[in-house]
Symmetry: C2
Subunit: 407 residues, 2 copies
Amino acid sequence: MDNTRLKAYAELIVKKGLNPDPGQEVIILAALDQPEFVRLVAEECYRAGAAKVTVDWQDMPLNKLAQLYQTEEKLGSIEDWEIEKLKWRVEKLPAFLWLDSDDPDGMDGIDQGKRARAQMARFPKIKPYRDAMENRFQWCIAGVPGKEWACKVFPGISAEEAVEKLWEAILTTARAEGDPIANWEEHNRVIHERCSALNDYKFIALEYQSSNGTDFRVGLMEQGIFAGGAEKDLSGRIFNPNIPSEEIFTSPKRGEAEGVLVSTKPLSWQGSLIENFSIRFEKGKAVEVKAEKGQEALERMIAMDEGAAYLGECALIGWDSPINRTGILFYSTLYDENASCHVALGRGFENCVADYDKYSQEQLRAMGVNDSMIHVDFMIGCRDLNITGITADGRKIPVFRFGEWCF
Amino acid sequence: MDNTRLKAYAELIVKKGLNPDPGQEVIILAALDQPEFVRLVAEECYRAGAAKVTVDWQDMPLNKLAQLYQTEEKLGSIEDWEIEKLKWRVEKLPAFLWLDSDDPDGMDGIDQGKRARAQMARFPKIKPYRDAMENRFQWCIAGVPGKEWACKVFPGISAEEAVEKLWEAILTTARAEGDPIANWEEHNRVIHERCSALNDYKFIALEYQSSNGTDFRVGLMEQGIFAGGAEKDLSGRIFNPNIPSEEIFTSPKRGEAEGVLVSTKPLSWQGSLIENFSIRFEKGKAVEVKAEKGQEALERMIAMDEGAAYLGECALIGWDSPINRTGILFYSTLYDENASCHVALGRGFENCVADYDKYSQEQLRAMGVNDSMIHVDFMIGCRDLNITGITADGRKIPVFRFGEWCF
């Protein structure tokens, strides 16, 4: 890929995605596939004034070996120094960038039960620090082509060609052409205007219907708001948590969800694919799941903890989204979730409550923001999806008709 | 490179180099160049019973960015969690493997003074933990071709060909052909026999002469021993700290070195090349250095701390060593030090004192084992090098004549 285009993408990620403060530290999580690009991004961070940039290189094949050979006890344990590192993050609040190039099938063949149990054992030790960092630092997820990922998205051609085609798709969908910074300023303006329009209705619920079997109603919090595009952390730093991002989303009210959602794209969860599935909800909780592929993984997912069977996100994306228009199935949540309306099981978003910083975490939970160790998006958008907003006085406002925004 | 040969090399590194205990953890330091090989090695460690294998991926271009952009204060600092990690290492004593593929010029152009001052500021915070681990765990350094390194060793051909040729040289010099395990058992037997012969003489000094200007005498400790090949850590675990290794070495007596040593190969120190240099010693201390290239780096090196100007190692390697026979200048200490007689400035080896575990570190220092934050080998071997051992009763025993072992 042409270096000028990569530099422009790196600059977009750092300036609009992460926006590090001068003197702030940056942590970058990256796989080994594109070291030159990771170095470009690191240098952009330094140019933006970062005091120190640390790259935590991740390698899925090594993670798979760990799952295969380590004991469940070892996988579920955490060393004192790792806790100290979390404390350091809570104190220093480095900006956090994930350059995602995960192989969607990279963890196939491991013992998913062992992995889940180890995660469940480890999570409570991490959670206090994760909670203490919530909304207090800038973070961003952006895509970078990995070889295995590219070959999955573009099968039947050489790995080199597949990587090049995936770069092209990543740069296009990230609006990284021309003047990427200006593109994102305009993009954020459009998203924020639509959020305002939605928030003015003060919907108490959304209803979803489509011909594939989706027939579903979800309650919304009285204080809930729709958000999207650029966000602010609690100290007012503006960042774009996802590049690309097309969604407008809210955190629904825990306990109010009835009916069936039918998936419209495969879901890659922890390196395993779940395909052609549906989930039935009662009183907010997933009570029945059916998957043509990955049934066991799906069942395990909603049993990860108490909140894993409840919803944490409802996201709205028009069928004409630039990502959907590529016609590419990315096998990656970052992209596929921005191609289509979706919901997420698990942890909700505290910042989808108006003035959320005035409430304690307990108060936010009581309002209906779900909590869980997982947050897994799955796609329900399709050509004939209708979504209707219900107002407090019972009016039914069309939000989506035939997969597209009504306003 | 053929996968069967790589697997045999990985097995050699793990079984003979590192030899992890069942249940022990392993840390691998590796660059990003050969991830498939690093994964092979990690899996070998697990097969040998390692409880957990952690790869600390290192990237010299990122380290260079850090040197260019971070403040000296930041570079010299260490976080509490890093100290906790050192404490964890002292407690758990994981085996440590460095898969070296460093670019010999990779740090060229940085401010060496800033780097050295930062290291000097950081080192005292790390030293207590390093001292506490000394001789208590297995460690190994083995080579893996990096692209930049290969292109330096084999200029004028494609990077791919250069890497392949460097793999070939690495496997040959590591005796990783045929049955590598059996090769190393025989190799260790030969080395240990030669060590016994040397130790029986109880030399009090070595004298070096060659036509290039080397004219030098170094004192040896009364309790000093020559060692080489497989070593034992304090709990009796046998490991080979270097693959390849051709040297027989001792830790000379601090304070007794007179005359001039002339280098016979370039030295890559911290990513900078120092070429055609000589060092003059008085009362054990380097008092004058002259380098055609890298004068400043060399001066800085011997000023890193008080012990950096004293010797920590005298190593003997015959001119017919398999590494020298390749005719390749590797620009890598691991290889070049095993091609030729060398000495090292800086830290000496406690385990070059007979029954060293019966003495305190203070006692070992008093006997003459040098201490420093550095340990830098440089080559003095050549075709006409003569080395003569001096016994307590004044006999002069030829050890090397015309670059070769006399026994």
